[in-house]
Symmetry: C2
Subunit: 494 residues, 2 copies
């Protein structure tokens, strides 16, 4: 116990700090989050050097490390921003430049806020009106499957709700410690939250050779192995997939639900890319909808939390940190505990709640903003679909790179062949081989992607995750540079 | 292990839920947060009944349970909301109805955002420009003591930063488990966060008979007692005080710093009410400033995190969840861990960051919005000062109620005499006596305050916390009703 034994002989002060790597929370040391890791810090440094006039083999850094739509030039949806401006400064309600439907929405939201201000705290679970609108959205989306506003919890982005739900699930010590099944590759929020909570991460592998599909046999293998050393209690699924871009079939979702029911697992469905489906023949099916279509044997039993966000889809409003979670079959006593827990942080950001309300209640065909809204929405999704197709096509032409179709979400996760000599050099530097590859790609080409090791991958395989968000022209340059680099890198280390 | 043994004989499904009170995270069950507890749920129910036409002995519920300024009718600062509207919908930059300084601020903030949009993620530590502005604000506030933007972390309200800092500090098991000293009475975020983290709460008592002052002797008593069963590593101070409304003297702060240095404690200074100082002769002194004025022996050694927020002071913008923390003498390796940890949640809400930028960089004397801004700011603070004075004066005229002056913050924490028979009746109902008192006050008078037991108090004493936020007219009615109720309650149980 260092903090007590380092009293100096002569005086008041101690030579060592209270909080050091040795004395800090050991769980936090185990947390990793590659999407904003060393690659991104290096990218920012390179950008600074470019600004200062330092010569580089490139004139700009193209970042495809994070699903940050507006940062990559995507424009906000006009209607959403008009309503947010009206909510921020209600004097504008007297301004005839704003369409009437935007004003109506703003008045409706403001009336639901304490003192008519988005500066007031909301209820901790979120503004009741917004939760009602979210429920109606879910009912429409799921073809009439009922939704109860009491089961909706608004959140600070989806990450907040996911971490909160995981926190509720964690208990036990040693062999009874809670285990949580997550896909590999995964979005590293999951591994980070589990490390933070000291829960056991149980990996199940998506099948790369079958377009990153999820097979129940693999779930069963992972579960049985895990039961030897922990208490598996939850199964997390990301659909459409991050970082892998697959869209799950209805059959697959049914299989997963049946598995969760058989094995008594709490289901967590991360569905933040629900509008991001591009491939022909693919369709988004919510876990909630499939669960209810499977009949009361499942719909009255399986515990499910599903998550959505304002950050992705066609709106891409990451900065507002809006989101919600719907809980199904949650024990009422646990629900009361959840409500108590979220009340400690008072409430999710109210501007994000207002924005979420617009996402789930957008302009209707008889309203003045409808056509502009639809044009903007369609244009964003069409551009993403085109970029998804282009990414797959160009990358698959590069010898040594192979990638699955980007059926949905915003990412490609191509497999890259790394020559043996490069793997050796990486080891000498103490880097993962794909980190070495991505760092070299960044330093030589100004291209910023995230190594596959940050998401998890089968041993001996290497990948990187890239977003499809750069504007089409820039994405073309980006892909051409990846191609050029991969050829050069392969030659250099062959 | 229930989840494995409840397999039914005949089928797939298990009769018990995965997540129950028995199987959930036991730490979360221990979390309490009185500010939004049963009293508030009852108040909301009463409001609904009034709306539905149910007859009550009152026509409205006056809520003084939470520091929610706008909900109580306080108006937002015009300049802040203009800039936020401009940032939300930059088309308005072409509108000549907005003052030029508001447009300049909006352009400056937007330029610091990815893609020029508040819909982009920011750096996880917060927008660099905003952190620079926060640093400049701190330097001005503290009479020139330097501040480094690298030491500023923007947050989702102050609660987020406080919980994050506590999380970093927690380690060890059994007698080496981290203990954290908090004042009693306290703001229940602290006890809730410590319960959530499984850390040990160490209570030190403020001296009610000496205007809720903090005495080093009491700190030492609490610390020595705690060292027998845990490892005390941090000391939290709230100044101006919540729920107690005192403003600490410079001498007291110096004593606390010296104590923290002697005893090797990490200091956490919750200073969210730094502009809310009303009493003559009182002045806000930041821990940072006093620390640096004490010379390098302290300023180069003592680890300090101080917290501020957009939710209180004259702006009261709770809904935006803006805030920051400044860390001093934090081990660089721990700082890297902190940066990694906050990156998992991507970033604090960007509208809240923009608002914080305006709070720390308000209109200047040569700018067009200055006089309006100053008038609005002064009016809010003057009204609060008047209500602080009025609250103390009226409550102290009630036999059986005694309260200290509200020197600062937004709360009074009066001590109430509860007759023995009422204490007996509360016990029969399984309620804390002050909960019984407050529930009866709510049911009979429509007055919503929070029992002292939610904040902690010396055994055998009873209090409630009320905000001074209701508008002056309503606060007068409120205080008259408290007086009437207390007399009636005392007679009934005598």
């Amino acid at each position: 116990d260092k903090s007590r034994t380092n009293m100096t002989e002569n005086g008041l002060l101690h030579p060592e700090r209270v909080l050091t790597l040795d004395t800090m929370n050991p769980n936090i040391k185990r947390v990793e989050y590659a999407v904003r890791g060393p690659i991104v810090q290096r990218a920012m440094q390179l950008e600074k050097e470019l600004q200062e006039g330092v010569k580089k083999p490139f004139t700009e850094v193209i970042k495809a490390n994070i699903g940050d739509c507006h940062a990559m030039g995507q424009q906000p949806i006009t209607f959403f921003r008009q309503v947010l401006a009206l909510c921020s400064y209600p004097e504008l309600l007297n301004d005839n430049k704003f369409p009437e439907d935007a004003k109506d929405r703003a008045r409706r939201i403001l009336q639901a806020c304490g003192g008519g201000s988005i500066g007031a705290y909301s209820a901790s679970q979120g503004i009741e009106l917004v939760r009602q609108d979210v429920s109606r959205y879910i009912v429409r989306r799921d073809g009439g499957v009922p939704s109860n506003p009491d089961n909706i919890y608004l959140s600070t982005g989806a990450s907040d709700a996911i971490a909160t739900m995981l926190k509720l699930l964690v208990s036990g010590e040693g062999p009874t410690r809670t285990g949580v099944m997550i896909s590999i590759p995964q979005y590293p929020l999951y591994s980070a939250a589990l490390a933070d909570l000291g829960a056991i991460q149980i990996n199940y592998y998506l099948d790369e050779s079958n377009n990153w599909s999820l097979a129940v046999g693999e779930l069963r293998r992972a579960l049985e192995a895990a039961r030897k050393h922990c208490n598996p209690r939850a199964l997390c699924v990301i659909n459409p997939g991050n970082p892998t871009g697959q869209v799950q079939s209805r059959q697959c979702i049914e299989d997963v639900i049946r598995f969760a029911a058989e094995e008594n697992l709490f289901l967590m469905a991360d569905e933040v890319y629900q509008d991001n489906v591009y491939a022909e023949g693919c369709q988004f099916h919510s876990f909630k909808k499939v669960l209810f279509e499977m009949g009361p044997k499942y719909s009255e039993k399986v515990e499910l939390a599903s998550f959505h966000s304002t950050s992705k889809c066609y709106m891409g409003e990451c900065g507002f940190r809006g989101g919600y979670m719907e809980v199904i079959n949650l024990d009422p006593a646990v629900k009361a505990q959840l409500t108590k827990l979220v009340s400690v942080r008072l409430c999710p950001p109210v501007p994000g709640q207002a924005l979420l309300d617009l996402v789930v209640n957008p302009p209707q065909p008889d309203e003045p903003s409808y056509s502009t809204f639809m044009n903007e929405r369609t244009a964003v999704l069409a551009a993403l679909a085109e970029k998804a197709r282009m990414t797959e096509e160009i990358l698959n032409k590069v010898p040594g790179i192979r990638c699955n179709p980007v059926q949905g979400a915003m990412y490609s996760f191509p497999q890259i062949q790394i020559p043996h000599k490069a793997i050796e050099e990486a080891k000498e530097k103490g880097q993962a081989p794909d980190m070495f590859y991505c760092m070299t790609l960044l330093d030589e080409m100004g291209i910023c992607v995230v190594p596959g090791s940050g998401f998890g991958q089968r041993d001996g395989t290497y990948h990187f995750r890239m977003t499809i968000l750069p504007p089409t022209d820039k994405l073309k340059i980006f892909l051409a540079k990846v191609k050029e680099f991969h050829q050069r890198f392969t030659e250099r280390y062959s």
